[in-house]
């Protein structure tokens, strides 16, 4: 007991002496901070030896030439990523591979925002950020990498600013030109991995083809509404590409975009974070990537489902066949990162970051990607902006916003001092309000936007008859408009309108199927009947009809249908509700 006490006292004394010496050397400030942080971690403990180097301005005690861990991590890296280094499933070797790896994120929106932030935070070495778009306020509910202050800036530049603020050690490439067939393969080739965070079908095909043509793994996710999907393409020997699963593009009408269909903010957030996770796994060489697995997320039920996918399709237009080229690609590519590689080298130099080591996985080559017409293939433009304005109607069948305002006011719809009150009344009371003013006024105002958009804001008195296609509009809505137009001002049009809409639609459908089944013999009478009906409609029209939509494209097509059905006094709002908001009512929200 006595001897034990003496030994401990001696140890305490020795420690005190050492502490005094350290204090004299001026290094004491660093010691207490390191203890709680990382003394149990070998990397951090080793880093302690180099502490004066980081503290700086200690000329009296020259630090070692710079701490480098056996895995090639520097002191700042070891400290910064210590919580990942402590993780047995990750550790310093995986971290070193991640720090030496690069990824290209295509799309800095709802998916790209969290993907970029988490990849940067986790310590990826180099990040490419590609997006041609500018930040809009309506992006900010989900694209959390941007900010109000950066509205109007290039998304790629805005994302880079946020990433730089989060982790200044990440090398950044900003690609504000976005991804094009001409630059895709060259761009993709410069990175170890690509993340598809785009928002449209043509870019998804383009990026997958470029990944297949360069042998680059592709972490792909998508989110619309309350649904999310994620899988990894072009990975390893048997990993499929996007075309293996979807050789035919979806019909444009079946391809909802967030701008039109809406999206709940955290949904792309969840999917983008998962993309970052898959990228980290592949680049660091840990875990099992979601190759040949499709992860589905249903936000409303909170359920994740995984579907086992097919292997690469031998007849795939992009990655199928190819023989030697495919084999070469796989030899160069591998599934990534089993070998630790030399310190500082990391996995990805092993899987061919020297660009020429990679090769096409199949029959599509970089030059084929550049030559392919993705807009024609998918029937959509890659840019998420407004569709090009249609010029279908002659100018005398179109009204400027101010002209429509005056006509509506003269007919007793909206306008005047109580315009705002009326607008509020109409939007809060929904379809009831619209039916009422649609009947009582001296004109008929038809809004052909989707019901969800109409529900958010609409002009007072407007009747919502959504336009999907000319055929559907003809079948479902033309009879209703004719009934409303032939009904004079002041008639009990609420009932008439509703009856026309319900009865008219089904009656029209019945007639169409009856004549349709009568074959060629029925064609002439049907044409004659249609002409007669049109003449009757023209004669009966009591009220002018005005048609509005979001931008003034669908409204023109709807007016065409109505004129074909016989109406003469029917006009559309040039520029749609966007023009109305810009020129007539700045208080009206633009969706």
């Amino acid at each position: 007991m006595e001897a034990e006490n003496a030994r401990l006292r001696a140890e305490v004394e020795a420690l005190r002496a050492r502490l005094r010496a350290l204090e004299a050397a001026g290094a004491s400030a660093d010691a207490p901070r390191q203890q709680p942080d990382g003394s149990s971690c070998t990397a951090a403990a080793a880093a302690g030896a180099a502490a004066p180097a980081a503290a700086g301005a200690r000329p009296s005690r020259a630090p070692p030439a710079g701490f480098v861990s056996p895995h090639g991590l520097t002191k700042p890296q070891a400290e910064r990523y210590s919580r990942q280094l402590l993780l047995p499933a990750f550790g310093p070797a995986a971290q070193a591979r991640l720090c030496a790896a690069s990824a290209l994120i295509v799309g800095c929106g709802g998916l790209g925002a969290p993907a970029a932030l988490y990849l940067a935070a986790a310590g990826i070495g180099r990040l490419g950020l590609a997006d041609h778009d500018a930040v809009e306020i309506s992006n900010l509910h989900r694209q959390i990498i941007h900010s109000e202050a950066r509205a109007g800036a290039h998304k790629a530049a805005s994302a880079a600013a946020a990433v730089a603020a989060l982790n200044s050690s990440v090398a950044l490439d900003v690609h504000t030109e976005g991804l094009t067939p001409a630059n895709a393969a060259d761009l993709v080739r410069r990175y170890d991995l690509v993340i598809d965070a785009s928002d449209n079908a043509p870019t998804r095909y383009l990026l997958s083809d470029a990944a297949a043509a360069t042998g680059t793994p592709l972490v792909s996710a998508a989110a619309v509404g309350t649904d999310g999907q994620l899988t990894v393409y072009c990975l390893g020997e048997d990993g499929p590409c996007y075309r293996c699963l979807f050789p035919e593009p979806p019909a444009p009408g079946n391809c909802a975009r967030c701008a039109d269909a809406g999206v709940l903010g955290p949904v792309p957030g969840v999917m983008g974070v998962l993309q970052a996770l898959e990228a980290v796994k592949i680049l660091a060489g840990v875990g099992k990537p979601l190759s040949r697995q499709l992860l589905l997320f249903d936000a409303l039920s909170g359920r994740f489902t995984t579907i086992k996918l097919r292997a690469r399709a031998p007849d795939c237009a992009a990655c199928g066949g190819g023989g030697g080229a495919a084999a070469a690609g796989d030899a160069a590519g591998g599934t990534g990162a089993q070998a630790e590689g030399p310190a500082g080298g990391a996995c990805c130099s092993g899987r061919g970051s020297g660009s020429d080591a990679r090769a096409p996985r199949g029959r599509m080559r970089p030059e084929d990607v550049a030559a392919f017409d993705y807009a024609a293939f998918t029937g959509q433009a890659a840019h998420d902006g407004a569709p090009p304005p249609l010029r279908v109607l002659p100018p005398d069948q179109r009204l400027a916003a101010a002209e429509l305002r005056d006509r509506l006011a003269a007919a007793g719809l909206g306008g005047g001092d109580d315009r705002d009150g009326a607008a509020n009344g109409a939007s809060s009371s929904g379809s009831g309000g619209s039916g009422d003013s649609g009947g009582a006024a001296g004109c008929v105002l038809i809004d052909v936007r989707p019901t969800a958009q109409f529900g958010v804001m609409s002009l007072p008195g407007a009747v919502n008859l959504p336009f999907d296609s000319p055929e559907r509009f003809r079948e479902r809505h033309v009879a209703s408009v004719l009934a409303l137009a032939s009904c004079g001002a002041g008639c009990a049009a609420l009932a008439a309108g509703a009856a026309a809409r319900d009865g008219g639609a089904s009656g029209y459908g019945g007639a169409a199927s009856a004549t349709g089944s009568s074959g060629a013999a029925g064609a002439a009478p049907r044409g004659a009947a249609a002409r007669a009906a049109a003449e009757q409609a023209a004669a009966e029209q009591q009220r002018p009809v005005y048609v509005v939509c979001r931008r003034g494209n669908h409204s023109q097509l709807a007016v065409q249908e109505l004129r074909a059905a016989g109406l003469r006094e029917v006009f559309d709002l040039a520029g749609g509700m966007e023009a109305w908001a810009a020129e007539v009512d700045p208080a009206m929200p633009v969706l």
Partner: protein, 83 residues
């Protein structure tokens, strides 16, 4: 026999429900089921030209007529493109 059809994304909007149970004649296959679905929900025809079909969480190729069994779960998964 009875199978459950699960609709995802756009197919759910067109079908108007997240899932439905269908009674199929014996010998029904994925391809005969898809024909049924097209006639039950005409709007689905356009969706089915580009989608993943999975039986019990496993991919079935587009042209394939995989035989269905009592209690099978058939998922219709169109691609999402938003982000």
């Amino acid at each position: 026999m009875r199978v459950r059809v699960l609709y995802f994304a756009r197919s759910r909007e067109v079908a108007g429900a997240p899932e439905e149970a269908l009674d199929l004649p014996p010998g029904a296959t994925t391809s005969s089921l898809l024909d049924d679905l097209r006639s039950r929900h005409p709007g689905l025809a356009g969706v089915l030209t580009s989608c993943v079909v999975a039986v019990n969480h496993e991919y079935v190729a587009a042209g394939e007529a995989a035989e269905l069994r009592e209690g099978d779960e058939v998922a219709i998964i169109p691609p999402l493109s938003g982000g």
